[in-house]
């Protein structure tokens, strides 16, 4: 299973343009995104107006940043179930240090970064050293972080909600950078959208144009053969886990500065949504295949769907059903497209 994934690496195969396009992991997601946009835009005027666009790009942006990192990790053959709860850990750390203990906000943000990268390193180190599935390792850190988030917060502040980040020293500038909005055509676009676009560009460059990108595909395809040809497999995987926790730090900071309060249960459950976005974007659960652009498109689909359902006024009780159906369709489309593309190579 894993070796075929490695052979699928489209960059080494010389085929026609049509086939090459079809073999791109993000093709299914592009088609899906267009269909979903056209559908909701035709149903709701506000959805296609600037205010509506700003609205659905907002959840897509923070999800997208996470989905890109999670996609890189998945291409590298691993999962991180602690990534959602880690956004809460980051927010709570910032809130505790800055709001509760009166640290300068920037110092608190930096401390949260060190903590997040540390947890990411531990996830990666334990996974590569023990050889256990990253599912198990990060399921452990997921539960531990969940407990720590609640336990530590309550022990130190006697409540489950940390408030007052907006009144800390250094907030105005940090707010500009992580949580402000930009007015375009009368609508307030979140600055997180810019971060998201930047993350897409950087991740795509790393994946397709650098040696590290090759390593990521290689360790996800077949770690043993990758090691045999000199790829530093363990280091690559650890770096990927740290990238994911770095993204969780960025998103956690964005959420904390935007809401100026953090709940102890923040982010729990979001890790599955990140994986969903990456999979819609063409990532394989088995590793070795996928793209950053695809993950971004997956996030876009998710953002359009989650807000679009509200715009067209469907019953919110059915929301998860629509989302699940969309996921299944996207994955099936990817599967069919890839199958077709592969047949062309034989």
């Amino acid at each position: 299973m894993t070796t075929t994934a490695a052979r699928r690496d489209e960059r080494v195969v010389d085929v026609g343009i049509a086939r090459r396009l079809l073999a791109r992991p993000e093709l299914g997601a592009i088609i899906g995104a267009v269909i979903i946009f056209v559908f909701f835009a035709s149903q709701s005027e506000v959805f296609r107006a600037p205010a509506g666009i700003a609205n659905w790009l907002d959840p897509a942006s923070t999800l997208g940043i996470m989905a890109i990192a999670v996609a890189l990790l998945m291409i590298g053959g691993e999962f991180d179930l602690s990534s959602g709860v880690m956004t809460g850990t980051v927010g709570l750390t910032i809130g505790l240090l800055a709001s509760h203990y009166g640290w300068n906000l920037w110092l608190a943000i930096f401390a949260a970064l060190v903590l997040a990268l540390g947890i990411g390193f531990l996830n990666g180190y334990l996974t590569t050293r023990t050889g256990l599935p990253s599912f198990i390792i990060t399921l452990g850190s997921f539960l531990m972080l969940q407990g720590l988030n609640l336990g530590v917060t309550k022990a130190l502040t006697n409540t489950v909600l940390i408030e007052g980040i907006g009144r800390t020293q250094g907030y105005p500038l940090a707010q500009q950078l992580f949580a402000s909005t930009v007015n375009i055509a009368g609508a307030e676009f979140r600055i997180t959208i810019l971060w998201w676009l930047a993350a897409t560009v950087v991740a795509t460059y790393v994946l397709l144009r650098t040696r590290q990108g090759n390593w990521i595909f290689a360790v996800g395809g077949d770690a043993r053969s990758a090691r045999n040809v000199g790829v530093p497999a363990a280091k690559t995987k650890i770096a990927l886990f740290m990238t994911t926790s770095g993204a969780a730090w960025l998103v956690g900071t964005m959420v904390a500065l935007r809401l100026t309060t953090v709940q102890a249960n923040q982010g729990i459950g979001d890790e599955l949504i990140y994986i969903v976005a990456a999979v819609i974007g063409g990532c394989l659960l088995t590793g070795g295949f996928g793209s950053a652009v695809g993950a971004s498109l997956g996030a876009l689909i998710f953002g359009m769907t989650s807000q679009g359902i509200v715009y067209v006024g469907w019953d919110s009780d059915w929301f998860k059903f629509f989302l699940g159906a969309m996921l299944l369709l996207a994955v099936l489309a990817n599967h069919v497209v890839r199958h077709y593309a592969e047949q062309g190579r034989k």
Binding site: L81, L161, N265, G313
Partner: protein, 343 residues
């Protein structure tokens, strides 16, 4: 591959069960008591929009802090939908337990230029920018359930809910009337300000008696049962217990049986079918109901009246939907409405 799938399923199950547990606490709402500050400012800030004619097709949006499938909020939703039908206005319901997502759902309603907005404020600071944006856009806002003390400050017309202080005091007064002297107030979520306020309210009105708080966890009802039972066994002077959640009330019923102390009078917050059975069977003395149906029905009515005539309710003071009492006298009546999803 197979193991990956299995693990995925396992993880999803762990997840769901955890989410299920954490929901329990928020479903009771955490609105804290006290009279609303700055009594009159509210109507002034929303006054800029001219009331529309009654014939216009109005749309009101409710955005709650609950995830889909929450029992308490389904009753709120039913109330909202019935009001929409009765008044011939369009109503929508959305909810998310994640404050950022709730804020985004409010933003959606604002960009749709709804004619009125109903918001539950479990986390007022996080919703502040979105609610203020709605007020600035001339959309009348009514807050419900929790957040009474911040409602007027954020520019809402009024607040519809139950204040914890008033509810707690009503419970204490009723227990005092029964002649109880030593009541356990069972807190099921450490650090929840709303729950502390309920117990404090009961303590104030239980004249000539004392109220002692007992800490249990709503996510571990088995251990809650044994904790309550142990407390009852160790102190024979305890003659009453007040639980603040329907699931914990069930645990307390078992604990009273386990400790063999059938004379202990049990009262609770929140209602469900099991609670009603226990009330009818005489195992629960009374239940306090904050009547979530009203928290959905009334705001729609208020917004519609505001759009018709420019009238406001409460003058910045909260409109209270509770405490409603359910005891042996009306348990049977309420049973019918619970099945209909109205209580």
């Amino acid at each position: 591959m197979l193991t990956t799938k299995t693990l995925f399923a396992m993880f999803a199950m762990v997840q769901l069960s955890l989410v299920g547990c954490s929901k329990e606490s928020s479903s009771t709402g955490s609105g804290s008591g006290g009279t609303a500050a700055s009594a009159t400012g509210a109507t002034g800030t929303t006054g800029e929009s001219t009331p529309a004619k009654a014939t216009k097709n109005l749309t009101f949006a409710l955005v709650s802090h609950a995830n889909a499938g929450d029992k308490f909020w389904d009753v709120v939703k039913n109330g909202e939908e019935q009001a929409g039908k009765d008044l011939g206005v369009k109503v929508t319901y959305q909810g998310s337990g994640d404050p950022q997502k709730q804020a985004q759902l409010i933003d959606v309603a604002v960009s749709q230029k709804v004619d009125g907005l109903i918001v539950s404020m479990a986390n007022p600071e996080a919703l502040r920018p979105s609610i203020q944006k709605a007020v600035q856009a001339g959309i009348p806002v009514i807050t419900i359930n929790s957040g009474a003390e911040k409602s007027a400050e954020l520019g809402a017309m009024t607040h519809v809910g139950q204040t914890e202080k008033v509810a707690g005091e009503a419970a204490g007064a009723r227990l005092a009337k029964k002649g109880l002297k030593h009541v356990l107030c069972i807190i099921h979520e450490a650090g929840n300000v709303g729950l502390e306020e309920r117990c404090a309210g009961a303590k104030r009105t239980l004249e000539g008696g004392k109220v002692v708080n007992l800490q249990v966890s709503v996510s571990d009802l088995a251990s809650a049962t044994s904790t309550i039972a142990a407390k009852l066994q160790s102190d024979p002077s305890i003659d009453g217990a007040l639980t603040l959640n329907n699931a914990v009330a069930g645990a307390a019923v078992n604990a009273i049986a386990q400790a063999n102390r059938p004379t202990v009078a049990l009262a609770t917050f929140d209602v469900d079918a099991t609670i009603l059975q226990n009330i009818s069977a005489g195992k629960i003395f009374f239940a306090i109901d904050q009547q979530p149906y009203l928290q959905g029905y009334l705001p729609v009515t208020f917004l519609n009246l505001y759009r018709m005539n420019g009238t406001t309710v409460g003058g910045g003071q909260p409109v209270l939907t509770g405490p409603g009492f359910i005891d042996k006298a009306n348990a049977e009546l309420v049973q019918k409405y619970i099945q209909q999803g109205a209580r």
